[in-house]
């Protein structure tokens, strides 16, 4: 394995570990807080629920992608 590949792999492993901690915190905080509210919305206001569902998944995508990209950039710079 090339030296640069090994560095990338190590950076990725660390990124994965940090990411796992963040995601676990996310489960317990956000999903527990949102669960009941989303359930009520789904049973009482379907159209609003559909809009909120789309916004949540799109928002999560953008935020998590930004976090992982940032983490990867910081870690790669550190090991360069």
């Amino acid at each position: 394995m090339k030296k640069s590949d090994a560095k990338s792999l190590r950076a990725f492993a660390i990124e994965l570990a940090i990411y796992a901690v963040l995601v676990t915190a996310y489960f317990f905080l956000v999903l527990h807080l949102l669960g009941d509210w989303l359930y009520r919305l789904e049973t009482q206001h379907r159209v609003l629920y559909a809009v909120v569902a789309l916004l949540l998944i799109a928002g999560q995508a953008v935020v998590l992608d930004a976090i992982t990209t940032l983490l990867f950039r910081i870690l790669r710079r550190r090991w360069r």
Partner: protein
């Protein structure tokens, strides 16, 4: 963990791992991975209508990430993607209506399971035949390694014949290297893909990606990126319409997506190291995994 919307208890780690695997597939093959995600959710005892709708929601998030990365690599034909999105939305609504009709008839699980088996199996067999034939016929040339991302297809002559069909209006797709093709052919491909997206869940990339390569003649790398871009639009619509019909558990989708984000990054980077026919050959076993899972749940009725 209890998911109140679908009234189900699911280990979130299972969802994250499924999301991660699907993320890799999505980034690498340009498919939503519903041939794995749908059966994987079904395996947990979730009804097909929830599996289909929830999978679509998760795919929206994952495709946003993967399409963004593909765009930076120059793998997205925006014009083609926007045209296809129109046809896909129409087809997806048809698929969602078919699911509703089956739900009312009370046999949604059996019918969707058998349709899924036939579709996934057919795609695998066709892509196995085509990619092997292409790799064999171009063995000498591709081993020169002069073109690491070279793209050929054994289905090429049929594709050329399709491109020569002149039904007005004709459109040109310079980004994909296509001088002229009938708008209707693009729309037919999109509507068929959209129908399966609404009916079997996901972005139906397992149908659209091969269709873009074999029917429209789009280079594989561009088909992957454009498909993902188009999935963002069509799966958003699919999520919306399924959510209104009570088929989406967004909490499950959010958890699955956390794993998919990392997987998608790995998949996108990996496409840079493989030629088109090799990507298509590697795609072959994936729908077969979906077939195996659906057959297992259908024949045994077993839920994890």
């Amino acid at each position: 963990m209890f998911f109140p919307i679908s009234h189900s208890y699911i280990n979130p780690l299972y969802l994250v791992v499924v999301g991660f695997l699907i993320g890799i597939l999505g980034g690498f093959f340009g498919v939503g991975g519903s041939f794995i995600a749908g059966p994987a959710l079904r395996l947990l005892g979730i009804d097909w209508n929830y599996a289909v709708g929830t999978d679509l929601a998760h795919i929206v998030g994952k495709s946003i990430v993967a399409a963004r990365h593909h765009r930076t690599l120059g793998n997205v034909d925006l014009k083609l993607g926007l045209i296809m999105a129109i046809g896909t939305i129409g087809g997806a609504e048809g698929g969602a209506q078919a699911i509703q009709a089956l739900k009312r008839a009370g046999n949604v699980n059996t019918v969707v399971s058998w349709v899924a088996i036939v579709v996934y199996f057919s795609i695998s067999i066709f892509m196995l035949w085509e990619s092997q034939k292409t790799l064999r016929s171009h063995k000498g040339r591709s081993q020169n390694a002069a073109e690491p991302k070279a793209d050929h297809s054994a289905f090429g002559p049929v594709t050329k014949r399709i491109q020569r069909i002149r039904i007005w209006p004709m459109v040109s797709l310079p980004t994909s290297g296509i001088q002229e093709i009938s708008l209707w052919i693009i729309l037919v491909v999109a509507v068929v893909g959209g129908f399966f997206s609404g009916f079997l869940g996901g972005g139906a990339g397992y149908i659209r990606m091969p269709s873009m390569v074999y029917v429209l003649g789009i280079p594989t790398h561009l088909a992957v990126g454009t498909d993902l871009f188009e999935i963002v639009i069509s799966a958003s619509y699919g999520t919306f319409t399924h959510a209104i019909k009570g088929n989406v558990d967004i909490l499950i989708a959010l958890v699955m997506h956390t794993g998919a984000v990392i997987g998608a990054q790995i998949g996108v980077v990996a496409t840079q190291y493989f030629a088109g026919p090799k990507i298509r050959l590697a795609f072959v076993p994936l729908p077969l995994i979906g077939v195996a899972i659906v057959l297992y749940t259908l024949l045994t009725g077993h839920k994890l």
